[in-house]
Structures are given as structure tokens and as C-alpha cells.
């Protein structure tokens, strides 16, 4: 008894050097364990990011030496490039429509699956399967389905429906990309939301049922607020990745027809690797980074009102 009382006293009375040394030792151990990951981060993320910032101030065209041109790339981006604002508009349009559809569909699927009495594990796997497929492979298959004269056209022709081909109409081409992206990614958020829904205590729902709340009320007033941290996470991550969309655009539409589906990610690739203008592409990449940061900051600010944490 006296030992346990005296030991903390003894350590407290001991010179502070001891605690610092232990703290320093622990910190050193932690640093050594983190070192591989840190080295990887520095080599493959930090260094390229800083290099990209440096390149954005040059006019590097890959086969010639780069030369410093100051803010000319950024100036060109905002004032001279006829395509930039179209590209920006396309990206924001895609993100807005895709984000809303993704969250609604995945939430709906999650709620439906959690209400099933049997087979909910199977359905979870089935809807999650598309997320395993590499997005390029999935896009190639969807391209074959959407291509003029392809599967979709044949099906509509046999049903005698006059549906315009999505890939040829500049107003509808983005919908084709959205369909592909939804198919590939809905499963991920669905599993996330489903897991969160399963954590909602049954006692709350039963109490609400006794008090006369119907299913709709139970969802909006109890389940949704309780899973709102997860929904917030899903929304932020989906927004970030949808602003960077590239694979589907590259395979299915190549930014066309015209510039109907040219997004920021695709414009960066086209300028950097198609037209060999690395400096300009790097400037575009940094503008994209700032836009994503701004959108994420906005979402974090909105969470104060919309997200309910337990504490």
C-alpha cells in the first residue's frame, strides 16, 4: 500500500530529467518506426509536390531544358486559355451531380440492406464488388456498351426507343461518365453507411416506435443524425476524389465530344503528356489542389451545423 503511494511520489520528486529522457526515448522509438513511411512520403509525395510547384513557374516542355517564367502560366490559365473556365465548369458540374447521386444512392442502398431480414451480407458483397475492379478496366467495358452502334444502341433499337447516344451528344456525354463512376463507386460508401447504420442502438428506434414515429421520421430524426459523422466522412472523400476524376474520362470520352467532358484532371494530362507542356500542366494541378482545399474547408465549416457528434 505504502509502496504504491510512495512510488508516484518518488517519481514526482525525482528530477524532471528522467521523464524527459523517457519521453525522448519514446519519441525516438516512434520516429524509427515511422521512418519507412516518412521516407516514402518524402520521396514519393512531398518531393514531387514541391517539384511540381517549382515546375509550374517554368515553361518546361520535357525534351528541352526548363526556364523560369514567373507567374506566366497562372496568368495564361486565368486570362488567355479559352478552355480553362469550361474545364472548371465541367469539373464542378460533375462533382455536384455525382456527389449528390452517390450519397443518395449509397445511403438508400445502405438503409434498404439494413432493413433486410436475410441475405444482407450477400447484397453487401454484390454491391461492393464493382469497387474491386480497376477503374480503367470498368471504363473500357462501359465504353463498349456506350459506343455508337454498341450494346446500348442495339438494346434501345430492339425496344424501339429513340434514346440519343450518350457519347455523341455534348449535353449528355457527362452523364455517361457519371453512370460509369456511380456504378464503380457506390458500393464503397454503401458499405460504410451500412456499417454505421448497424451501430445505431436499437433501443432508440424501439423507443421512437413506441412513441409513434413512423419509418420516415425514424430515419430523418434518429438514424441520419446518428450516422452523420460517417456521412460527412463519405461526402468529403467522395468530393475530393470526384474533383480529380480522370480514368473514366480518358477511356470513355477523351474529353469529348468537343470539350463537354474535359475536366481538370483530364486537362492536366492533356496539357502535360499530350501537348508536352509540363509547366502549364503543373500550374493547373496546383490550381486544382487549391480548389479541392477550398471545397474541403467549406465542408468542414458546414459540419458544425449538420454533423452531430456523440460528445
Amino acid at each position: 500500500m505504502t509502496e504504491t503511494v510512495s512510488t508516484p511520489q518518488a517519481t514526482m520528486a525525482a528530477p524532471p530529467r528522467r521523464r524527459n529522457r523517457m519521453g525522448a526515448q519514446e519519441a525516438r522509438m516512434a520516429f524509427i518506426f515511422l521512418l519507412p513511411s516518412l521516407l516514402g512520403f518524402i520521396a514519393f509525395m512531398l518531393f514531387p509536390i514541391v517539384a511540381s510547384l517549382a515546375i509550374s513557374f517554368t515553361n518546361w516542355q520535357l525534351i528541352s531544358a526548363p526556364s523560369f517564367i514567373g507567374f506566366a502560366n497562372y496568368q495564361r490559365l486565368f486570362t488567355l486559355d479559352p478552355a480553362f473556365f469550361t474545364v472548371l465548369g465541367n469539373t464542378l458540374f460533375f462533382t455536384a451531380e455525382y456527389l449528390v447521386l452517390n450519397i443518395v444512392v449509397s445511403l438508400g442502398l445502405a438503409v434498404w440492406i439494413s432493413s433486410l431480414k436475410r441475405g444482407h451480407r450477400w447484397f453487401r458483397v454484390i454491391f461492393f464488388l464493382p469497387t474491386f475492379t480497376p477503374s480503367i478496366a470498368a471504363s473500357v467495358v462501359w465504353l463498349l456498351i456506350f459506343t455508337p452502334g454498341g450494346f446500348m444502341d442495339t438494346v434501345f433499337q430492339t425496344l424501339s426507343l429513340q434514346v440519343p447516344n450518350l457519347l455523341l451528344d455534348p449535353k449528355l456525354a457527362m452523364q455517361a461518365v457519371i453512370i460509369v463512376t456511380l456504378w464503380a463507386n457506390v458500393g464503397y460508401n454503401m458499405v460504410l453507411f451500412n456499417a454505421a447504420l448497424d451501430l445505431v442502438p436499437q433501443s432508440y428506434l424501439e423507443a421512437a416506435k413506441i412513441d409513434g414515429a413512423n419509418a420516415w421520421d425514424r430515419f430523418w430524426k434518429i438514424r441520419l443524425p446518428l450516422i452523420s459523422p460517417t456521412v460527412f466522412f463519405g461526402t468529403v472523400m467522395t468530393a475530393i476524389t470526384s474533383l480529380q476524376v480522370f480514368d473514366q474520362i480518358y477511356v470513355v470520352t477523351r474529353g469529348g465530344p468537343g470539350s463537354a467532358t474535359a475536366t481538370l484532371g483530364f486537362a492536366i494530362y492533356q496539357n502535360g503528356f499530350g501537348n508536352y507542356q509540363m509547366g502549364y500542366a503543373s500550374a493547373l494541378a496546383w490550381v486544382m489542389f487549391l480548389i479541392i482545399m477550398a471545397l474541403t474547408a467549406l465542408q468542414f465549416w458546414l459540419q458544425r451545423k449538420w454533423v452531430h457528434y456523440d460528445s
Partner: protein
């Protein structure tokens, strides 16, 4: 002690004598980057790589192939990261863009007394920049019209003859567009070939792109009209490579005519189930202007094995190699003496091949391009579908492409 000393002396003597000889036969492996499409294609190039080792046993050539479109994306990236292969394949149309990556060959040609005149003069010009030769060519060829002979005979049409006009072409295409099949396949970046054949000028005297000139716009109207007005060609979207789509549809018998070059015979010959014919491109009011292009091999300026690479490219553009490529249908040789093998062997079953080729070569014209031709071709692929579906007029599409190409 004495025997050891004598043995040591003998060893040293042997090494000294063998030294220079060994240095010459030092085995070296050089890399060769080339575009390749299907297995037949890649096998043909591998055969050439093996021919180098047969001629020079100390040289092993490691072939690295990439699909055509990706090759031009990879090339500057490989150059920027210092990973170019020793032998670099180059096309005449892209030489103005990439000559700085290659080693000038004039000194080596003079020093070895290499007979550069055995090659077709136009493609030597294509492989040069500012009068300096940067690569040895392996092929040259005009774009021509491949057609489905069976379909022509079924429709009771006269086969295309050299010197046929645009109107005759359109009549044939209309007659062949029936039962879900099409008469022709429009590939967006084939505009420049079509326009040149009709005598249109899409590049002005200063060498700059001028897609809005009267003749260029008229050619665009004709070209796009095949899809929108005469409806003899299918719509192509901007996603999948339109060239591959049209080639696939031609080979499966869905399209009756398509524009391609002698280098594609190797792929077509084995896949088509019908009789093929070749005709030169249709001409406009005046004479045909058949643009030609060709490709060859250069030595990368940063190579560590330039001497071995020089020996290797002499073999792979040598008479035996080009005879092999000609008979396989992969290339119309850049060497004048070997061109006959393409006619006699590869194109033996193809109707009108010799006449079409000779007519096109005798009406050949320089292929006018700009320094950013890669970007221009991408723009054609991206924006032409808008005109093909009628969302924009050909004039608006050409103006858009013109302004975007200039801003780069």
C-alpha cells in the same frame, strides 16, 4: 618458383595479345524502342532484332514495344528521365518535334562510306532536319484507299481505278451503304490526308496552321459531309481510338473502304475474310496529291552504346531486313531495290496494289505539318464528333480547332 613465374609471364603475354581482340568482341546488349500493335507486328520486329545478333554475334538487341499512340506520350517522358533506349524509332511526321533527342548521323555515314542513295530520297528528307540526317528509314508509303473487293462486285460496281475522282468515290460509297454496312469510314485525324489529296491547303506559307482558309474549309465540308450529308460513314465518338474502331469495322466487313498505308497490310492480311483491293486516294478537280510518310531508326543522343547501335541500325534497315518486312506486309521498303518484294509477295492477292502504289508515288507530295502536330491530331479527334453529329457546322469546328491549336 620458376614455373610460377613463367606461367605468370605467359598469362600476362596472353592477356596483352588478347586484350585488343577481347575489347572489340565485348558482348553488349542494346535496347530498341519501337511501336508495335499485334503479335504479328511484334514478331516481325523481334526477327529483325535477331538478325542483328546473327550479323554481329556480340550485340544483343532487346526490343521494347509500345502501342502507337502511347509511344509518342512515352517518348518525351523517357527522354526527360534519361531512359531512352539506344535505338529510337522515329516517324517522319514527328521528326521536327523530336530531332533533338537523336544523334546526327552524317559523320558516321561519311566515315563508313554508307550508301545513303540506295534509299528513296523523299524519306531521307523525312528522316532529316535542317539537312542533317537523324535516322535511317525502313519504310515509306503513301496513304491509299483499301477496299472490300467482294462488296464492290456484289453491288455490281466498277472497281476503283487510279485517277478516280471524288464524285466517283462518293457514288461508290453511296451504293455500298446498305443493310447496316457503310461505304467509308471517316477517321477525324485523316482530315489532313484527305484534304491534301483534294489539293487543299491547310497550312499557310509561313508553315502555320490555317484551317480556316477557303480550300481547307471546303475540304472539311466534303470530309464531314460524308458522315452528315451522304451518310456513307458511321459516327465515331471521341473516346476509343477512332482509327482502331474504323479498322476493326473494315476488317469485319462492316465498312467497305478505308484510308490506310502499306504498313498496315500485315495486320489486315491475316484478319480479313474477303478479297481486298487497293486504289489511290480520289482526286479533286486537279491532280492527286498523295502525301507520304515513313519511319526509321535513330540513335539516341544520350546512348552509351552508339557504335553498337550504329551497326545495329544498319542491319535493321539493310536489304535482308527490308526484304523480310516487305514480304510480311509490314513495310514498303525505303530501299528502292527491295520495294518489289512488297508488291510481289505481301500484296500478291490484293487487287490493283502495284498500280495504286505506283500512281500514288508518282503523284507524291510533301506532308505539310506543324511542330505541334501531335496536339493538332488530338484536337481533331476531340472536336470532329461535334461536327459529325451536327451540333456544330464544319466551319465552327475548324475555327475552334484552329484557335485551340494556336494557343498552345
Amino acid at each position: 618458383m620458376k614455373t610460377t613465374a613463367m606461367l605468370a609471364a605467359a598469362a600476362l603475354l596472353g592477356a596483352a595479345l588478347a586484350g585488343p581482340a577481347m575489347a572489340q568482341d565485348q558482348p553488349v546488349t542494346i535496347t530498341w524502342q519501337m511501336w508495335g500493335s499485334d503479335e504479328n507486328d511484334i514478331a516481325a520486329w523481334q526477327h529483325l532484332a535477331d538478325m542483328v545478333t546473327e550479323a554481329h554475334p556480340e550485340i544483343t538487341v532487346e526490343l521494347q514495344t509500345t502501342p502507337w499512340n502511347d509511344y509518342w506520350t512515352k517518348l518525351p517522358v523517357l527522354a526527360a528521365s534519361g531512359q531512352l533506349a539506344d535505338i529510337v524509332a522515329m516517324q517522319s511526321l514527328r521528326m521536327p518535334n523530336f530531332y533533338s533527342l537523336l544523334e546526327p548521323l552524317d559523320d558516321r555515314i561519311e566515315a563508313d562510306g554508307f550508301d545513303i542513295d540506295a534509299f528513296d530520297a523523299s524519306i531521307i528528307g523525312g528522316m532529316s532536319h535542317d539537312g542533317v540526317v537523324y535516322g535511317l528509314p525502313y519504310d515509306v508509303g503513301p496513304w491509299m484507299m483499301f477496299y472490300n473487293k467482294d462488296k464492290f462486285e456484289e453491288a455490281g460496281l466498277a472497281l476503283p481505278q487510279p485517277g478516280w475522282t471524288l464524285d466517283e468515290f462518293k457514288q461508290a460509297a453511296v451504293a455500298l451503304t446498305k443493310d447496316g454496312g457503310f461505304g467509308f469510314g471517316v477517321v477525324p485525324n485523316g482530315y489532313s490526308i484527305f484534304a491534301a489529296a483534294l489539293g487543299a491547303d491547310y497550312i499557310n506559307d509561313e508553315g502555320q496552321l490555317d484551317l480556316t482558309s477557303t480550300s481547307a474549309l471546303a475540304a472539311a465540308d466534303e470530309f464531314l459531309g460524308l458522315v452528315t450529308q451522304e451518310k456513307v460513314a458511321p459516327l465515331v465518338a471521341s473516346g476509343a481510338n477512332p482509327g482502331d474502331v474504323i479498322a476493326g469495322r473494315f476488317e469485319s466487313g462492316n465498312i467497305a473502304m478505308m484510308v490506310d498505308g502499306p504498313w498496315s497490310l500485315i495486320s489486315k492480311r491475316d484478319t480479313v475474310q474477303f478479297e481486298m483491293g487497293l486504289a489511290p486516294l480520289p482526286r479533286g478537280e486537279g491532280d492527286l496529291r498523295a502525301v507520304t510518310a515513313g519511319s526509321g531508326f535513330g540513335i539516341s543522343a544520350s546512348s552509351q552504346n552508339k557504335d553498337a547501335a550504329w551497326k545495329a541500325i544498319q542491319v535493321i534497315t539493310g536489304p535482308e531486313a527490308l526484304k523480310y518486312l516487305a514480304e510480311a506486309g509490314r513495310a514498303l521498303p525505303a530501299r528502292k531495290a527491295e520495294q518489289t518484294y512488297w508488291f510481289d509477295v505481301a500484296a500478291a492477292g490484293v487487287e490493283g496494289a502495284r498500280e495504286a502504289l505506283e500512281y500514288s508515288l508518282s503523284h507524291s507530295a510533301t506532308y505539310e505539318i506543324t511542330n505541334n502536330w501531335n496536339a493538332v491530331e488530338n484536337l481533331f479527334t476531340q472536336y470532329y464528333p461535334l461536327a459529325m453529329t451536327g451540333s456544330q457546322t464544319p466551319e465552327e469546328t475548324m475555327q475552334t480547332i484552329q484557335s485551340l491549336a494556336q494557343s498552345q
